[in-house]
Point group: C2
Chain length 305, copies 2
C-alpha cells in the first residue's frame, strides 16, 4: 500500500440519538477508535513513514504514535525504534513490540526522552527523527480526517477535538479548510495540562513546567508544536479546559450511551461539552473521539468512579 | 422515515488486523453495536412497526427487542407496550421507557410472560402481538444485514452469527441467499442454552426445559421460532456450542483487541472461534457482533474475570 488514503481506515461516524437527547444538541461522533492501532495517530505515522526517504525511523512516544509508527514501518518495510517512558501503559508497550519495532524504555527520572533520542540519533545518523506531533507530514496525515468530516455531507456548527501537542486539531483545521467547511473548531484540553489554552490567551506558545499527570495520557505534552501553533493560533476558536472528573465522566457516558470504548484522551471532546453544555445547545456538533488504547485496569477504575 | 433502509444504520465493518493475527484467520467484524438502540434488533422491530396496520404493538422481550420496538414505534407514532421480566438488565428497562413505551414488569415466578401478553391482548384486541424473533417481518428486517454483508465486496468462507430464537441467523441467511453469497453460515449458541444445536442434530425443534441462565441473556430462549427453523434447518451448516468461560473471554478479547464494547450475546460469534480455532485457520471469516447493551456492573465483572 503506497497510498495514504488506501492505507487508513475511514473514520466511523456515529450519529448518536442518545447523546443528542442527553445534551439537546445534534451530536455526531467521529470515532478513530477503530483506526489501525486504535487511534488517529496512524494517519500521521503512515504519512511520515511513506514520505521520508530514510529506512530507519526513531521517535519518542508515550504510546499511540509509537504503535502507529511501528505498524506503518512494518507495512512499508522500514526499521522503527520507539523511545518510551517506563511508566507507559503496558498495552501500548506491547502494541509497539507486536509490530516488530524496537522499544527503548527509559527511566525518565534519569534521562529525558529527548536526550535519549539525541543519543540514538548520534548512533544512527542515517535515521529519521519523527515527531509525534510537530511535523508538516503529521499535520498532512491528520488532515485526511478533516477532509472526511468536510465530505461527510453534514454542516456542523462546531467541531470539538482533543488537544495534546496539537497535531490532530491542526490537521483537522487544515483538512476542513481545504474543503470550505464553515464549522468552528474548538479544542478540548485537560485543565491539568492547559498550556494550549494559555497559549491561545497569551498569543504565543506557553509551556507546562513539567509533564502534567492528567488521566488523559495522550495530552501529557509540555507544549504545542511550532508547526501546529501556526495553524491553531488563528484556526481554533477557543480551547475548553476539562476537569479530570469530566474526562472520566465522558468516558462513562460514551460507554453507556454510545457503546464506545474510549481512552481518556479520546473522551476530552465530550468532556468539553460537559464543561459547558449551554454553548452547544441546539447546535450541530461533531465530537472527535481520537482513540481507544487504555489499560483494562485503568478503564475498570474509571467505570467504578 | 417510511423506508426501512433509510431508517436503519448500516452495520460497521471492522477488518481486524489484531484479531486476524491472534487467530491466523482473516477476520472481519460486522458490528451492530452502533445500530439504533445498540443492537441488530432495530432492523426487525422497525420492519414490524412499519408494516403492520395496527397503531398499538405489544411484545414480550427481555430487552433488546423491546428497546428497538419502542424506538421504532416512537418514530412511527405508534403505541408500544413491552412485557419484561423483573430480572431484566436495568439499562434495558430504562432504555425502553426512554422511548416513550409502557414497560409491563412481570414476576416470572408468578406469571409467565406469554400469559401476561395473552392478558394484555384480551384487554387490547386492536393491538398487534409482535414476536421478538418468530415472524416473517422479523426475518425480513434482519435480512437487511445479510444483504449488507453480501454487498460488502468480500467473499467470506464463514459467517458466524449468535443464535437465540434464531431471528438473526435466519434473516442473515435469507439476505445472503438473495445476493448469491457462498459463505457458509455457522450459528453460535451458549452451551447452557443449546436447543438450536440439539434441534439441528435431531432434525426437529427441541425445547429447553426452562429458561437457561447463561450470561448471554439475549439467548435465554426456550426454543427456535418456527419460521426461523424452516430457514435454519437447511441454511445453517452447524451450530457451535460456546461455554460460559469462552463467552466472557470473547467479551474481553473484543475489548482489548478490537476496542469494542460488546454484550455477552454479541460475543458468541467470537466465542465459537475460541471453541474451535482450527476450523477457521486461514479462512475469511465474518463475525456478527449483534449488540452492546450490557449493565456496567456486569461488564466490569466480566473484565475482572
Amino acid at each position: 500500500m503506497e497510498n495514504l488514503i488506501e492505507a487508513i481506515r475511514p473514520t466511523t461516524f456515529i450519529e448518536s440519538k442518545s447523546l443528542s437527547r442527553l445534551f439537546d444538541a445534534d451530536i455526531t461522533i467521529a470515532a478513530e477508535t477503530f483506526q489501525h492501532t486504535g487511534s488517529f495517530k496512524f494517519r500521521a505515522a503512515y504519512n511520515v513513514a511513506l514520505n521520508v526517504p530514510n529506512s530507519h525511523i526513531i521517535t519518542a512516544s508515550s504510546g499511540n504514535f509509537g504503535q502507529a509508527l511501528a505498524l506503518a514501518c512494518q507495512i512499508l518495510n522500514k526499521k522503527c525504534t520507539v523511545v518510551m517512558p517506563d511508566t507507559s501503559a503496558k498495552v501500548k508497550v506491547e502494541g509497539v513490540k507486536s509490530f516488530g519495532a524496537t522499544v527503548d524504555l527509559v527511566e525518565t527520572s534519569k534521562i529525558g526522552r529527548v536526550e535519549r533520542v539525541d543519543q540514538l540519533m548520534r548512533e544512527n545518523p542515517e535515521a529519521y527523527r519523527a515527531s509525534a506531533y510537530d511535523d508538516f507530514l503529521v499535520i498532512e496525515g491528520n488532515a485526511t480526517l478533516g477532509v472526511e468530516i468536510a465530505k461527510s455531507g453534514k454542516q456542523f456548527d462546531f467541531l470539538v477535538s482533543p488537544v495534546g501537542g496539537g497535531g490532530l486539531v491542526s490537521g483537522i483545521i487544515t483538512g476542513l479548510c481545504r474543503h470550505g467547511s464553515t464549522a468552528e473548531v474548538i479544542g478540548a484540553e485537560p485543565r491539568l495540562a492547559n498550556d494550549a489554552a494559555r497559549s491561545l490567551k497569551e498569543g504565543k506558545i506557553v509551556n507546562n513546567e513539567y509533564e502534567p499527570q492528567t488521566v488523559a495520557d495522550g495530552a501529557r505534552t509540555l507544549s504545542l508544536g511550532l508547526h501546529n501553533w501556526n495553524v491553531i493560533k488563528t484556526g481554533v476558536k477557543e480551547i475548553i479546559e476539562v476537569s479530570e472528573e469530566n474526562i472520566k465522566e465522558a468516558v462513562k457516558i460514551l460507554f453507556t450511551y454510545s457503546n464506545l470504548k474510549v481512552e481518556p484522551t479520546g473522551a476530552l471532546s465530550l468532556g468539553a461539552v460537559l464543561e459547558n453544555p449551554k454553548q452547544f445547545d441546539g447546535k450541530k456538533v461533531c465530537l472527535i473521539v481520537s482513540g481507544a488504547n487504555v489499560d483494562m485496569k485503568v478503564y475498570k477504575k474509571i467505570l467504578e468512579s
